[in-house]
Symmetry: C2
């Protein structure tokens, strides 16, 4: 069985940076450092950090022993960040720099008097963070018709959105708005991973998608492979691999979400090689 791994599978720039920050702090054995929620949507990485003393917290308000909180890649709303500071906790900001940019542009557009339109999913933590930086703001996802917009519209984009969605939004906005200022804050890594995954998926008998079951972009990869269509299995670790999946399989493709660490991908590759390679 030939195993082909997608080149851009696994950690994106922002996730790698955040995980590096967290493990560096763990290594320094600093006390009282927590992550605000799981640092990424990958239970195995979160468990590994826990073992090294970096625990995810949902409620930081009743804890007395907090010295610092690590902010995850998606970022947090401005008010939350202000609350954390007001409690005297240090903020270790692992927000993805591309998300930071989107937050900054939302603030700038707002200050310049634009009605800020964010293209993204309204319940996603990244979007909740970005929107907190603007005053007059709406979220659009193109699944529902565009609401009535003002004549001066500023656009920023959730980093994982597609360019096609942004083009559609621009076409719809220019019908009504007299002035649009748009910052294309889309991060290319999502599109690149999808594109490379498609190339491999079209050449193989089955696809294995590796990553947290709670990871939006891993789930998106699974849905995408299934739609091609290719028989596709979404797993977190090698223990989930079933013998019948690979029976008679000549070519097997592996891809992984942006929150999947390399050691898990490697372990799965090795396990598959041992079975049928």
């Amino acid at each position: 069985m030939k195993i082909i791994t997608v080149k851009s599978a696994g950690f994106c720039f922002g996730v790698k940076r955040a995980i590096d920050i967290a493990f560096k702090i763990a290594k320094a054995k600093r006390q009282g450092v927590y992550t605000l929620g799981p640092i990424i949507h990958n239970p195995q990485v979160v468990d590994k950090l826990k073992e090294q003393g970096i625990i995810p917290l949902e409620d930081f308000r009743s804890r007395k022993d907090i010295k610092a909180l690590i902010i995850r890649t998606h970022g947090i709303p401005l008010s939350l960040s202000q609350e954390i500071s007001s409690l005297g906790f240090e903020i270790i900001d692992a927000t993805c720099p591309f998300v930071k940019k989107a937050q900054y542009y939302a603030k700038l557009l707002s200050e310049e008097g634009y009605q800020v339109v964010i293209l993204g999913e309204k319940n996603h933590p990244e979007v909740k963070g970005i929107m907190s930086y603007a005053n007059d703001v709406i979220i659009v996802d193109l699944k529902t018709p565009l609401p009535k917009l003002k004549s001066k519209v500023g656009i920023v984009v959730q980093t994982t959105q597609s360019l096609e969605a942004l083009k559609t939004l621009l076409s719809e906005t220019i019908i009504h708005a007299k002035e649009i200022k748009v910052y294309n804050t889309i991060c290319n890594s999502t599109a690149l991973r999808l594109k490379e995954t498609e190339t491999i998926a079209r050449k193989v008998d089955i696809m294995i998608v590796v990553g947290g079951k709670n990871s939006a972009n891993t789930t998106q990869l699974t849905r995408f492979c299934k739609s091609l269509p290719v028989p596709t299995y979404h797993i977190e670790t090698s223990s989930e691999i079933k013998e019948e999946w690979i029976k008679g399989v000549k070519r097997l493709g592996i891809t992984a979400g942006a929150s999947t660490p390399e050691w898990i991908i490697k372990d799965i590759c090795k396990n598959l090689s041992d079975r049928g390679g």
Copy 2:
């Protein structure tokens, strides 16, 4: 024969304003006032103004008797305007206020550091005027592929362009630019005239398009009606009407370009009524 005239046929807001300015000056019998080129692309209106002493000039540099120059609706390049002033001539600015806006936005975008992209025809006087207000500027017409753009792009639009063309430009620009600021400087009167002309043209046996043979937007109306297809005749005055055109015609539609005065449209209606109405 039933004659139906398109509601929005004839003078648009900007042309009406310019002609009012010129006739007001003629009425006041001010001496030494010329128009810089024909004030609009309609020979009959230009002749009428000539009779009242307002002569179009192409070369103002060798004339000694000029006191003031009337600038036509399309506007002029900034350098020309500066040259006229430096010769001590008064400028009577009949530039369409919508074109003025496009000039202003081109200047603003340029000052804000954007590469200015003008969607329009590069040889059109309006575009030549607008582009003179920006430093780093290119003209695109979508007939040829988009050149390589910078990452910060500002867009203004020739007032007679279509919204569809602007949507296409935005879709192509957002592939490369990280930031776009666009001012939709399209004037609705062109789109409205085309839309109303189509509605009428689909109901009649022949269409008469009235306006200067040198008028771009009248020629565009003619081409548009012919493409529907409807038998279409482009005339400047009633003297051009041919009996065989209206033989057996039950319903006749009339439309006119933005530079066609009402008195010519009315004269043609009357002439046609007398013949077959």
